[in-house]
């Protein structure tokens, strides 16, 4: 019996028992579809987080004051010293590194903002002109802070979109005066609305020059220093230079923590990758359940078609041929089920993508491939026993039954 005849005969017997075939295909396709949809969701979550991180800025290196020690006692702690403050001159000094493109200090505090009769508590960020570029933000109206020395104060501010709405309403904000604490600032620009990213809502922010913020809060300390490396490959050198420069400036003490966005990103990437695998694995269990179902139904099919198998043997089909026929049936069945499942899975992913447009839902190619081959594999694996049983059937007994 040649290959195409085997397939034809097998597909004929599948068509012969339609409801059995449809039910098995359904089981198979649900398994495949769940693998596709679940891995698509996991992959979507991973890409979502990755996207969020890169919206923070690319090639970002962040300096935090203080050192997170995990072992031993810092001698300073015994003397009652706290970590040395990070100051604007530190930030200025970091520009010496050849790996660094931009640097901006960041001082954060809260202050009472008032315009006319309206006032509210706002988060004030004191920073430099490069903040906009480093954080990939866009202006809505007016200008951002001008390029100037980190040490010179200037009574200008840039508003987040929400602050503008709440304090100015429909009035134009640019050019107006805004009271922050006991000082007045001229509004020179408004940020474009951009929503939340990584827990920091820039819509809710008032940005002033860093020196002005220091005057406002009466401190010299910085909350962060944001550094943009020249390229992805320069992130590590930038981090090293930053650590060296700050160590020199702080009397040889390593009292800052330098983190790279890459490291954080890689961690999240790993966690979410593992999550995707785990979810995909759970879905794969449903696939193997479908495999067991196929075995069950194939066994019933062998019992139901005892006579036909006996006849095929009498007509001269060797045992191997009978086995091949049942394999072909299982393979066709799981193939059809897989294709239907893949289509269902893609449709489901699309539907979820429609419902949550911010989530980039798409099954990774390896999951699609794995689902397909697992389905085919289980289908064939679980048909080994039924096929064997059919091949070993005694033709005399098989034909004796009416």
């Amino acid at each position: 019996m040649n290959f195409s005849d085997t397939l034809l005969f097998a597909s004929g017997s599948l068509r012969g028992s339609r409801s059995r075939t449809l039910l098995m295909m359904l089981a198979m396709s649900i398994g495949v579809a769940s693998v596709v949809i679940l891995t698509a969701l996991g992959e979507g979550a991973r890409r979502y987080v990755t996207g969020q991180f890169s919206s923070l800025g690319t090639n970002l290196v962040i300096v935090l004051p203080g050192r997170s020690e995990t072992a031993g006692i810092n001698p300073g702690m015994l003397l009652g010293q706290v970590a040395r403050d990070l100051v604007v001159d530190d930030a200025q000094a970091l520009l010496r590194s050849s790996a660094v493109r931009r640097v901006t200090p960041l001082a954060v505090g809260t202050a009472q903002a008032a315009h006319g009769a309206l006032n509210r508590e706002v988060v004030v960020a004191g920073t430099g002109a490069d903040f906009l570029a480093i954080r990939h933000m866009d202006m809505g109206q007016g200008q951002f802070l001008p390029q100037m020395d980190f040490n010179s104060a200037m009574p200008v501010c840039v508003l987040g979109d929400k602050i503008r709405r709440e304090l100015f309403g429909t009035q134009p904000a640019v050019g107006e005066w805004l009271h922050l604490g006991d000082r007045r600032f001229r509004v020179i620009g408004v940020l474009a609305a951009q929503g939340e990213s990584m827990g920091m809502n820039t819509d809710d922010l008032v940005i002033v020059p860093v020196a002005s913020a220091h005057m406002l809060f009466n401190t010299q300390a910085l909350f962060r220093v944001l550094i943009e490396a020249k390229s992805r490959d320069m992130i590590e050198p930038a981090k090293r230079d930053t650590e060296n420069i700050l160590m020199q400036r702080h009397g040889g003490e390593k009292d800052v923590t330098v983190i790279t966005q890459d490291a954080v990103l890689a961690t999240f990437d790993r966690i979410l990758g593992a999550l995707t695998l785990a979810v995909g694995g759970i879905a794969a269990i449903s696939l193997s359940v479908a495999g067991v179902l196929i075995m069950n139904v194939m066994l019933i099919a062998v019992a139901q078609r005892t006579q036909e198998i006996g006849l095929l043997k009498a007509l001269g089909a060797p045992p191997a041929e009978i086995r091949r026929l049942f394999f072909a049936e299982a393979a066709l069945l799981s193939m059809a089920g897989s294709v239907v499942g893949l289509v269902l899975g893609e449709i489901g992913s699309l539907a979820i993508g429609q419902m949550y447009p911010s989530l980039p839902v798409a099954a990774p190619w390896w999951a699609v491939l794995a689902a397909f081959s697992t389905a085919l594999g289980t289908g064939i694996l679980f048909s080994v026993m039924p096929a064997r049983r059919a091949a070993l059937l005694d033709p005399v007994m098989a034909l004796a039954r009416r």
Binding site: M1, N2, D5, F9, G12, S13, R15, G16, Q307, E308, G310, L311, L312, K313, A314, L315, G316, A317, P318, P319, A320, E321, P395, V396, L399, R402
Partner: protein, 226 residues
């Protein structure tokens, strides 16, 4: 052409050995028309199964066309069945989901014969068996006589050297039974060897050689009284 020497077949029932055939010596020559008769349990069906290689003897040697077929493995026996033996069953055993033409084609599909040749041979045979208008019908749309004619067509499509029939008219009424017998006998006239098992003496007497069996032994072997 068919040589049985000292062929026995016993079955284990519970813890007892039950002999279905005891030391049978039997020869058939090509073109013979043989009926095997006997009461139920006389071993005639077992004999037919052994002849058709559906079963293996417990002891003894079976030579078909001069070849010892008892020592062949399953796959080789299947090939012998495919090429040299045709079966006609009491209950037709047609594949219900296949059309009459497809049922007739089945042995050739199993033998791996090319599709064009298959179609040609099937259509010739269908015409000569008077089934032309029934070729695309499924078995459940055929009458009993038509079903058996399809089954006979299927048994002869590979041009076997021997045709084994197990109560070929057992499930048919008198008239159609006669038609089917006429068809089988027509095949004998064309040179086919026909070995038929029946318990109907009227039917058995039509054969040119009649073998009688009781309790697994041959008790009569008469020729040519027709």
């Amino acid at each position: 052409m068919i040589e049985f020497s000292q062929v026995s077949r016993s079955f284990t029932v519970g813890d007892q050995q039950v002999a279905a055939l005891r030391n049978i010596d039997l020869n058939f020559t090509a073109g013979e028309y043989v009926s095997i008769m006997g009461p139920s349990g006389s071993g005639k069906s077992t004999l037919l199964n052994l002849l058709g290689l559906l079963d293996r003897p417990s002891s003894g040697v079976y030579k078909l066309d001069g070849m010892d077929v008892t020592t062949l493995d399953d796959a080789q026996q299947a090939q012998v069945r495919r090429e040299k033996i045709g079966f006609v069953f009491q209950f037709f055993h047609l594949v219900p989901r296949l059309s009459a033409a497809m049922n007739i084609e089945l042995p050739m599909i199993l033998a791996g014969i090319a599709a064009e040749e298959r179609k040609e041979r099937v259509s010739t045979l269908i015409k000569s068996y008077g089934l032309s208008d029934r070729a695309d019908h499924r078995p459940d749309q055929l009458s009993g006589g038509q079903r058996q004619r399809v089954a006979i067509a299927r048994a002869t499509i590979m041009r076997p050297v021997v045709l084994l029939a197990d109560e070929p008219t057992g499930n048919l009424d008198q008239t159609t039974g006669k038609e089917v017998m006429a068809l089988l006998e027509q095949l004998v006239e064309q040179g086919v060897t026909l070995i038929m098992v029946t318990h109907d003496p009227m039917l058995g007497k039509r054969a040119s050689r009649q073998v009688g069996m009781v309790d697994g032994e041959i008790v009569a072997d008469t020729r040519g009284t027709k």
